[in-house]
């Protein structure tokens, strides 16, 4: 896992018209690395992702991505009432690869079905997207990013609202994707998840820390990140953070 960084962010600051809501972010991720992004709601995770996706310009500093970027947003943001099947959603990943006058053809359909198979939804390709479960929808969105052949994947709380077995599946999937050389950035509230990954980035309107989990997931860093809402769970002494309100969008 050496070579040029897939994601290079240098002294980034970004905002929505007024003073920047996120400042001083500097980190790099190499191909195949999995980076967990922690922070409270409103702390800048979404802002960072938007800059990385090109949806929001950087006010200061730079954010460079090598290769194609893909996103797996929370499924609630999608229009669940759109009459699209899982296959249709996966096919959306082909848009950027086709010239404007071409519609997805046989090749593209095959790639989309393959991607759905990879995420374990091979025979639900024709199912209506809105009628799938939360976890299944999440996987369809991952498939979409795969079809795009994204080298950098931005995942926005992929485990929220997902049951245990599905969560395990998703974890295995992400590991596989990373092993293939893709870079994953995952916004999450789950500290155990973060511990399992390669790097952790803590944001609370500014970068609090970045590095391997052992180095970063200390009490001081967590308190600075979440503003003192760290709780130690009685069984097993695990530390967990209780998010206040889930819907910031």
């Amino acid at each position: 896992m050496t070579g040029d960084p897939a994601v290079q962010v240098t002294r980034l600051a970004a905002g929505y018209g007024g003073p920047p809501v996120l400042v001083d972010v500097t980190f790099a991720a190499r191909p195949g690395e999995r980076v967990a992004v922690l922070g409270p709601n409103g702390g800048g995770k979404s802002t960072l992702f938007r800059v990385l996706l090109g949806d929001l310009p950087a006010a200061r500093g730079t954010a460079e991505l090598l290769g194609r970027r893909g996103t797996v947003p929370q499924t609630e943001r999608s229009r669940l009432d759109f009459p699209v099947s899982a296959l249709d959603v996966a096919l959306m990943g082909t848009l950027s690869r086709l010239p404007w006058w071409k519609r997805p053809g046989r090749d593209e359909h095959r790639r989309a079905r393959d991607a759905l198979a990879v995420v374990g939804l091979g025979d639900l390709a024709g199912a209506s997207f809105g009628e799938l479960s939360g976890g299944q929808r999440q996987r369809v969105l991952v498939a979409r990013a795969l079809v795009q052949e994204a080298d950098v994947l931005l995942l926005d709380e992929p485990f929220s609202g997902v049951d245990e077995p599905t969560a395990r599946q998703l974890e295995a999937l992400f590991d596989r994707l990373a092993a293939e050389g893709r870079t994953l950035l995952m916004a999450t509230h789950d500290l155990e998840q973060a511990r399992a990954w390669d790097r952790v980035l803590c944001l609370n309107r500014r970068q609090i820390a970045f590095g391997p989990p052992d180095a970063v997931l200390t009490r001081e860093v967590l308190e600075a990140t979440y503003g003192g809402a760290v709780v130690t769970l009685p069984e097993g002494g695990e530390e967990a953070v209780l998010p206040a309100h889930h819907h910031e969008h």
Partner: protein, 281 residues
């Protein structure tokens, strides 16, 4: 059953109705997805002064409409920049003013007779030239929709992440408004300024109740539009009701029927389980 079509006026009206059904039905799906019903209705109203001026001056309606719509779009964009006002309010301000202007021009004693036709349309008065122009415009709309299909899907599905997938939201917004303007220009001759929104919204809203994927939905919408149009003409023929209003009214009625049917069906179905269907695979 085929008696009406022996008459050339009716045949021309039929062609017109089919053309508008195609443009309105297909485009209407995107109007419904993007929540643009109010914009479409407002655009139709704000075209009015352009159409009136064209009729007064003697240039083709399309030209006046095109100029009018550009002016209206500029005015709406300008008004929308006021941060204190919501989008709906600024649209309302511009549209009310423009429509008022159109009415003052149209209803002044000096204006030529028959300008009221612009308000309610004159589907029976379409000439062959009108039909040819309409056909060209319909082709423009359908071609535009085909080219933009991928973009429309991606941006409509999830606007925020669209750019990551190559989507261009600004382009899509503009293109949709332009296509709506073109579709209105086609339909205004037949249905008039006030009723044109029927063909742009009703068939698509009906199709939404029936279809599960986008492209079939567009096809169903076109079919519903054409059926309603033909039905409206039959109604006008046999019951001697006003032609344009019959077509528009029937489109709305079909939607209401579809909605009622769906409500009944939902009520009869056994309640769905609270948890999502067994997923763990």
């Amino acid at each position: 059953m085929f008696e009406p079509w022996a008459d050339p006026t009716m045949r021309r009206a039929l062609v017109e109705v089919v053309l508008l059904g195609l443009a309105g039905g297909a485009l209407g799906c995107w109007i419904v997805f993007y929540g643009l019903s109010y914009s479409a209705e407002s655009l139709a109203h704000s075209l009015f002064p352009g159409l009136v001026v064209a009729a007064l001056v003697g240039v083709p309606l399309l030209l006046g409409g095109a100029v009018g719509i550009v002016l209206a779009a500029v005015a709406v964009a300008a008004a929308a920049r006021a941060p204190e006002l919501g989008r709906d309010t600024s649209v309302a301000v511009v549209v009310t003013t423009l429509f008022g202007l159109g009415v003052v021009l149209a209803l002044s004693p000096e204006s030529p007779p028959g300008i009221q036709g612009l308000l309610f349309g004159d589907i029976l008065g379409v000439s062959d030239t009108d039909l040819v122009l309409a056909a060209i415009l319909v082709l423009v709309v359908l071609a535009g929709l085909r080219v933009l299909h991928g973009q429309l899907l991606v941006v409509g599905f999830d606007r925020a992440s669209a750019r990551a997938f190559g989507g261009r939201p600004a382009l899509v917004d503009t293109a949709l408004l332009v296509l709506i303007a073109v579709a209105i220009l086609v339909s205004v001759q037949a249905l008039g300024n006030l009723l044109v929104v029927a063909v742009l919204v009703a068939p698509a809203a009906t199709a939404r109740l029936l279809a599960r994927r986008v492209v079939p939905m567009m096809a169903v919408a076109c079919a519903v539009a054409v059926v309603a149009g033909v039905g409206g003409l039959y109604l006008s023929y046999y019951a001697s009701t006003a032609a344009g209003a019959s077509v528009a009214g029937l489109m709305v009625v079909l939607f209401l029927v579809g909605l009622a049917g769906r409500r009944i069906r939902l009520r009869r179905r056994p309640p769905l389980p609270a948890a999502p269907p067994p997923a763990a695979r």
